[in-house]
Subunit: 250 residues, 2 copies
Amino acid sequence: MEMKSVTRSLRILEAVAQHQPVTVGELTRLFGLPKSTVQRTLVTLNEAGWLRANRKDTTRWEIGARVLAVRPAALQGSSLFAAAREPMIRLRDTLNETIHLSVPDALQCMVVVDRVDCTHAVRTFYAIGDTSPLHATATGRAILAHLPKADVDELVERGLESFSEATPTDPARLRAELDRLRADGYSVNRNQYRPDVCAVAAAILDEGGTPLAAVAVSMPDSRYEAERLPEIGRLVADTAKEIAARRAGA
Amino acid sequence: MEMKSVTRSLRILEAVAQHQPVTVGELTRLFGLPKSTVQRTLVTLNEAGWLRANRKDTTRWEIGARVLAVRPAALQGSSLFAAAREPMIRLRDTLNETIHLSVPDALQCMVVVDRVDCTHAVRTFYAIGDTSPLHATATGRAILAHLPKADVDELVERGLESFSEATPTDPARLRAELDRLRADGYSVNRNQYRPDVCAVAAAILDEGGTPLAAVAVSMPDSRYEAERLPEIGRLVADTAKEIAARRAGA
DNA sequence: TTCACCCGTGCCACAATGTGGAACGCCGTG
DNA sequence: CACGGCGTTCCACATTGTGGCACGGGTGAA
């Protein structure tokens, strides 16, 4: 399948999002495309309502608001999103660490959909929309642990990429870890994906036991204390359960 | 400018967002396009990461997570978004009415970017991503009041569409209303856009006095009490100021 | 002032690209 | 068993996007 113009337009749209407000020239240099091609694409995206000219410098382009109506199903009607908000803030207040809400995207990756920051000067940073691998993160494994075995097999067959020395690349080790976290109710990631980033996560399940999302407490390795793990794990698991209950009640 | 395929692809993407999870057939009926055209578009959008097949029914399509990384500048880094969250919740707790956060989109419309619900059985409903006209809403006028006169002129020249008997379609009346709200610090909309929906809003300004967004308390007409207006107006204006201060401090 | 440079924009002949009717294989139903 | 509807695939055609080029304006150096 081709649709070169569509693919290119979406790439340009993504580039605008990253560099906004951005000019035609900057984009031509970024992509190495003819000016007229980029220009035409921008005008088209603008007419479709996905871009708009910056009000102060009308030769610069920004993302328009049309995009906000286009969201993954898990966030539509914001039942999950809204239900998660207050429990997340409360968890942040209890621990003063950054809290993330992530959803799985087609077993390919986890995507950060919401964040509540801590007040420490040193804090972990993920932007909304950032992605991470399922097998190497606390949120990813929290989801995996509640999926059918066939899905885990599928993931294993695709290969467990290594991101650091701590990444669980051995299928047996991954499966053992999933068994453990099913028992404990929370998953732990210590420097397995990004160096110096640790997290404790728990899955948010729907009525049928399908995992919809995961909440995670995320902190730099310097503040990770193994002896507090059971306490933090319980707090995260309770938060996940509370979110699930609120969502169901809405 | 044309780019028919791009325009159509974006339309289809928006339709998927509204109807997800959706099949090829449903979309062909919706648009009256040939099956092969829709099919090709969906595959292309999927390859670009914007769509994905539903895990349970792989012939149904959903919005993928790629979209989340594409957001208007006002929400990037989520300085505004994150700063607004807690003050909005506090305002909701005080009044127990739904609170909206909206940003202007190129003087064309206001877009709801966040929402905190009240607990009443009867509540106003706007989804995230919904748009509304600037001149006929409390949030829109809160923004307009802090823009240069030329911008208001531009809007007036484009015409003030009527949405209900209460919509201010007379330019003089609109300008008078803007003057009033600049003095009071908050704007009021009583059934001017959607019948039975009232709102009280205030603008969130950046350091230079440019309006970035507006917060609004939104309620059904049945709970609107004119005598409480000064009190509610002050609360909303204070919330807007607090959000602005938090944003600047981040 | 003049010149040179780079910007965003507009044009248009060419052919690469997307189009959509038709056909296929599959499934559940009458 | 035949039918209707589904998602998917194919391919000749011509519509559609392409990109080199040129224009006009703004800016900075000579």
